[in-house]
């Protein structure tokens, strides 16, 4: 059980995301193959593997760890998920304290800054059938439960992200390749929302909720 989101936990978060994304890469690719270009799983697998390779093992700053993660994702992923997840991690990192770790409340606020960055970059709103549909409720749930401590907040965020991802199934896509499909994009789980749920589930796993 962790009370503080410190550099060690930030590194472990990135490592566990990489493992879970690698395990689910084929599944994410299949989700993307239904409405996108099918590369989401492979792209994210490559991106988080690169992020693990770029982990700063010496710093005691969670902010520095996740800033490097964001940069690695932008550099390594030749698809939309690189700039989007890269921006997510870099923006949330910059909202963390400059040194050391972060309290649950500080991490909750940072998760919100991260998703705001994603929205500003991609122009997606809630309901557009994107990763935003998982990241927005996750940040809100985390912030609402932050007073219960880091593990409880991370679990609430993971559950909210999963529900948000599942709720993308009936939606019609309004961003990305899937938006060209019109009503044929309905009835499919959005791969970006699905991978965002994995990211938040990894956080819950790491902080011991």
């Amino acid at each position: 059980m962790a009370d503080e989101f410190d550099a060690g936990i930030a590194r472990e978060w990135v490592r566990v995301i990489a493992v879970r994304v690698s395990e689910q890469a084929t599944y994410l690719g299949e989700l993307d193959g239904a409405i996108g270009d099918g590369d989401h799983g492979g792209n994210l697998d490559r991106g988080f593997a690169a992020a693990v390779g770029k982990l700063d093992r010496t710093t005691d700053s969670a902010r520095e760890v996740l800033t490097a993660t964001g940069g690695a994702l932008i550099s390594a992923v030749g698809g939309a998920s690189g700039p989007l997840y890269g921006t997510y991690f870099r923006k949330l990192a910059r909202a963390l304290p400059e040194h050391g770790g972060a309290s649950a409340a500080e991490l909750g606020a940072a998760l919100q800054v991260g998703v705001d960055g994603v929205r500003a970059l991609g122009g997606a709103a809630e309901g557009d059938k994107t990763m935003v549909d998982a990241l927005v409720p996750a940040a809100a749930a985390f912030a609402e439960t932050a007073t219960d401590g880091l593990p409880a907040a991370a679990v609430a965020a993971a559950e909210a992200a999963r529900r948000g991802a599942d709720a993308t199934v009936p939606l019609r896509a309004r961003k990305g390749r899937a938006s060209y499909l019109g009503e044929r994009s309905e009835g499919h789980l959005d791969p970006g929302a699905a991978s965002s749920a994995l990211v938040l589930a990894a956080l819950a796993e790491v902080v011991g909720g």
């Binding site: 932008i74 550099s75 030749g78 698809g79 690189g82 700039p83 970059l121």
Partner: protein, 133 residues
């Protein structure tokens, strides 16, 4: 005349970026640096920050560079790159809201007249208004 504004074309396809750059270079009368940034690092379909950075470095003379992207992650990568541009960059870099081929032709034509970077970006965006029929 100062060096003309450079142009960088970002596409998922190396061939598409190079082909569009070939056309735009001709429209710039060979005086405008038009550089392709297409495909991923291995030449497959995708986008690459490293290729984009190299292309901008080659196109930048100090007068500025206009970026034109095709779709999806090309646009997201370009927006991320512009947002991260350091304060001490050699010159401005603007992302034009423009179609790739038509925007590149318009931008190169404008740049060859000695237009500044904002004017070149606006010329690229105006390409949306040029109907073909």
């Amino acid at each position: 005349m100062a060096s003309p504004v450079g142009i960088v074309l970002i596409s998922h396809s190396r061939a598409l970026a190079e082909g569009a750059a070939e056309v735009a270079t001709a429209m710039g009368l060979g005086e405008v640096a038009v550089r392709p940034a297409g495909g991923d690092d291995d030449g497959r379909l995708g986008t690459s920050l490293a290729l984009l950075e190299r292309a901008v470095d080659e196109a930048q003379t100090g007068a500025g560079v206009v970026l034109i992207a095709d779709v999806g992650s090309s646009v997201l990568l370009a927006r991320t790159y512009v947002a991260d541009l350091p304060e001490d960059a050699l010159g401005p870099v603007l992302l034009a809201d423009a179609p790739l081929v038509e925007g590149a032709v318009a931008a190169a034509s404008a740049s060859a007249t000695g237009a500044d970077v904002e004017t070149v970006a606006a010329a690229a965006a105006d390409a949306y208004a040029h109907r073909k029929l």
